[in-house]
Symmetry: D2
Subunit: 340 residues, 4 copies
């Protein structure tokens, strides 16, 4: 931790900071610059309240040196983690492809989708049964009935099931049916929910919140890892920026950056990341070229009639073409795509 003193800081202010740093069990190194004094505090800096030093007299700024997360870091585990859940393999050369409708709407819709995405080479089926919706007037999902349809679709196709869980109370129920629990972007910092999935035996797909920094996202993953569940996949689905022609801004530099810092695999969601059907195929290809460990894509038999997210869903033919394009890129980077 680096504590930068104001130019106007009194000697007494510097003394007080040193004492405070040492009282917290860190060692204080004082560096007197030409313009300012800097105190480098050495030791475990992930301590409750230490950033409060910023409010001490004479202090200008407090800068962290260590990453705030531990178990999620490459320093804790050097080799990349591979997550396996039924037919889905993510990491270490396997690009998992999770596809299916935003919401489970009916048996017919789901089964048709499952067959279509399987035929096109997907390795898992997505579908929402519990839907977190921005408006109370929007379709809220089929709930347990939806979970049963998902399980039936697995029965029929062999595809692993990825579905969202929105409340700690539902974790047990959803874990009975699903292979992977998805934590949605809006729940990335719902800590009770993170704690609950941390105790589940199912793998977790943790979406990045639209305004979360990568450190905050990895700290959310840390809650799950710390709870004992090591099967965590990160999912970048776009951040909120001033751009309005896309629903969110999909920063693919996340892939290489996160892979430098964490051993957890990184999945990309080009559907939410762009918000427009026509932009999904090129961003899916780009994700693979960037080195992503997986894709999650919304596919619907008839997007114009979808009860949610139709504007960003692919129909079956579009998904097949997208997979064909992705397969060429995956070959070029010598990785396996989906069910290959």
């Amino acid at each position: 931790m680096i504590i930068v003193m104001k130019k106007s800081a009194a000697e007494q202010d510097i003394e007080t900071v040193i004492q405070d740093v040492e009282a917290r069990g860190l060692k204080a190194n004082v560096i007197r610059g030409t313009e300012r004094t800097v105190i480098a505090a050495v030791g475990e800096e992930r301590i409750a309240g230490i950033t409060a030093l910023e409010s001490a007299p004479g202090v200008d700024e407090v800068m962290s040196v260590l990453a705030p997360y531990k178990m999620a870091s490459r320093e804790w585990k050097d080799e990349q983690s591979v997550v396996r859940a039924g037919s889905l393999i993510v990491g270490n050369g396997h690009i998992g492809v999770i596809a299916g409708p935003c919401s489970v709407e009916s048996e017919e819709q789901l089964v048709a989708s499952a067959q279509a995405v399987k035929n096109a080479g997907a390795s898992a089926l997505r579908g929402g049964a519990f839907k977190p919706r921005t408006s109370p007037y929007s379709f809220q999902g089929m709930k347990e009935e939806g979970l049963k349809l998902l399980a039936a679709a697995r029965e029929e196709t062999g595809l692993a099931i990825v579905t969202e869980v929105v409340s700690p109370d539902d974790v047990e129920l959803v874990s009975e049916y699903a292979d992977v629990l998805q934590i949605g972007a809006r729940n990335m910092q719902n800590y009770r929910l993170l704690e609950a999935v941390g105790k589940s035996p199912r793998a977790v797909l943790l979406k990045r919140g639209p305004s979360a920094t990568i450190d905050e996202w990895l700290l959310a993953a840390e809650y799950i890892l710390d709870g004992g569940n090591l099967d965590v996949m990160l999912c970048e689905r776009g951040i909120r920026t001033f751009e309005s022609h896309t629903r969110f801004t999909l920063p693919l530099a996340t892939v290489a950056y996160a892979q430098e810092r964490t051993h957890l695999p990184v999945v990309i969601d080009p559907s939410h990341g762009t918000g427009h059907t026509s932009l999904v195929p090129s961003m899916a290809r780009a994700s693979i070229a960037a080195g992503a460990d997986g894709l999650i894509i919304e596919v619907h038999p008839d997007p114009g009639k979808a009860l949610s997210d139709g504007y960003q869903s692919l129909n079956f033919e579009q998904f097949e073409e997208t997979m064909a394009g992705c397969r060429k890129i995956a070959n070029a980077v010598e990785r396996k795509l989906g069910s290959e």
Copy 2:
């Protein structure tokens, strides 16, 4: 709802959109421009799936005309709502002032804070017992013990209690002790939690998520109103932008804009909104000049030793001065501040 067709749209595409619009119970008005055709769909546009029209052939863009929320709108209720909870009055000329520590840390800390903020003119006491913390390694709050201390502080000072609730399961417990339930920024779209507080008899302070649009925020309020709880205060606490010298960017234009659209009172949080003690007083004054209905401010006996948010907390003397400055502004705009 305005549906803008592509210049290249075929007559058949236009026909299909018209049929789709009418099948959803809206009336389609077709306007043929010099460059493009536009279809204005008249009727209740808050219908599941209607935005999916964007994926139909020939459609370029779908633009909403109506606000997506209803009960939160000025059109539903024209006069401003006033929220009363014990000693706290917010709205209609009363600027409620909620002050106190980020976290309840001990009886001594809390009682001292309660007395100090009361003496300075605050109308309610804040203090976190259940803390949603970014890192699993940070202080997580005193939980029910903290709630008991808050209730004891109310006993002693008469101040209403404002405290956060982070899980639907805790709503009943927290409602027993608190006068106002706070929904934190990270839980603004935790819909289960919104539904739960919608059924509570306590007033609710709904913080804006750091990347939520105002429409999304009012839709979150709509979940609570729709649940039957009409005592909702909105709280602007800053949004995430590229600015890094402040923790968040506090957009005070929210006050006038929200007041045009909604009858719900608007409270400003200059502590989280700036993230630095030294910036709080001027932004508190500015909030009142902008027309805010309330303030929520972090105050701690010794910010440098706080277990959370010390860098943005005021000490007692700073809070007293801040209140003095705010009082002058409140007088200038002919409104009552805090316990006045």
Copy 3:
């Protein structure tokens, strides 16, 4: 400058960085932490190319300790600067009020505006003769003819003239007519233009670019100061964020933050900062409560007919009311507003 090494950095990497730091004339202090090594480089860190150290083997991050600007800093000049230009005084208790139309459109429009803003208490007249317009199809301004009308309006009202200059070649011409040269937000980093106004005898109003950090803005000011012109006013006019209900997001925390760092006065533009007429009055009041040293506001005889920026302009009556509201706030904070 703090250089944070990777955990995996070899001893040789550390050595190389130390040599590089010392070769650049700085002193290297090596601090060996429990997890990482940090090198604190003491001395003048504003040196060409030093951030390139980040690309050296074993280096994780390079963090600056010193502000990158000098002459703009409080450390270079402690007392606040006051800018005087004709009837306009900005700083040190004087809140300068610059008002008038976005563009000079005709003699009639300008003279009426000048009289109206003078009567309402403004201390200077704004009006654009050279207009930087987003679209080549928009009105581009009356150019020198507009400057002449501005000078005539000064003749008649005694108000100082503030007008934009968009090209280094025009600085001399505009300086003949104007009292204050405005650098628009889109030209904040047009360094040739900054150099040119740095040599002008006229005061400068430097607008913040919509995505400029405060450091970048102060560095732009530094170009002007470094050129010999010390009469620089900063103007915050809003930044670009995900908010779309306002044209830009106006971060009033800029006032207190900038005033801590720089001696230059800070003017707020609530017209561009909000982009909607109805939001201007409350943000003008809030700016003064926040401690702003000046305001710049768009006023037009008939905003609905304005050739530019009509949606954010006040008519004369609205401006008069806005000034009345601002005057009460200025009294409350014991400062003089406009021509007082």
Copy 4:
């Protein structure tokens, strides 16, 4: 143009808007909804001042239907434009690769760079002679001497020269030496400069401003096209967002989105777009998979010693590897890379 009236709008307000719309030569279609009235104005909506309607009584919002640019649109020219400048071909299956140092620093540095990037397969050499620098204390470039070195490097290698021009006065000089004039991100809305390059016989690479919308960027291109210069390449180099682990956020969805709207080719700059050497190769590959028409990459013989942008430059070996990776992706998407 769609004009949404407030629910509270009087019949007279609607009448006034209709008259205003018709006075501007558009036809007004009035659509009376269940909650609000909407007026669809048909005709050429790119008219000075029309957005001022928003300030008229009873008007809530004004929404554009037509894109604000013309010559840059696919509707003006359907087939993709190909830009050719010496050895550089961009568009229509040819992925142009522009590489070289941020600044021209010396003959030795430039010649070595030119040879290296040529050998690795680049099709043009970049190098800054006039440098727009954030700080007046940074290296400002070698100016005309730098241009001469660039021309000499072309002599020796046959590579086309891409270099920045920062002032209208320099356009003629730079055009004598360079094949492509680069407009930097900070000058994207320097309209005098855009007008000047619009009259140059050289091709133009127009960088997107870090907070410019795509519409604003295409309007900047429109200035150049409107001036008579049709050889315009767009260059996405990242936008400013809350992300701080990358220097800018590189939104690759720009590629497909822009290609839908404009015929101008789109070049990606992964160097500025990420700001870190280690992230450049994966984003270069991703750009090609996304369908980019070109790349511009910073390459330096010894990035740790570069006078500018060293932290994001590749050394020769890294560039060669990056090109090898890109070539595989280009083959997969059946396009030619660089000098192929």
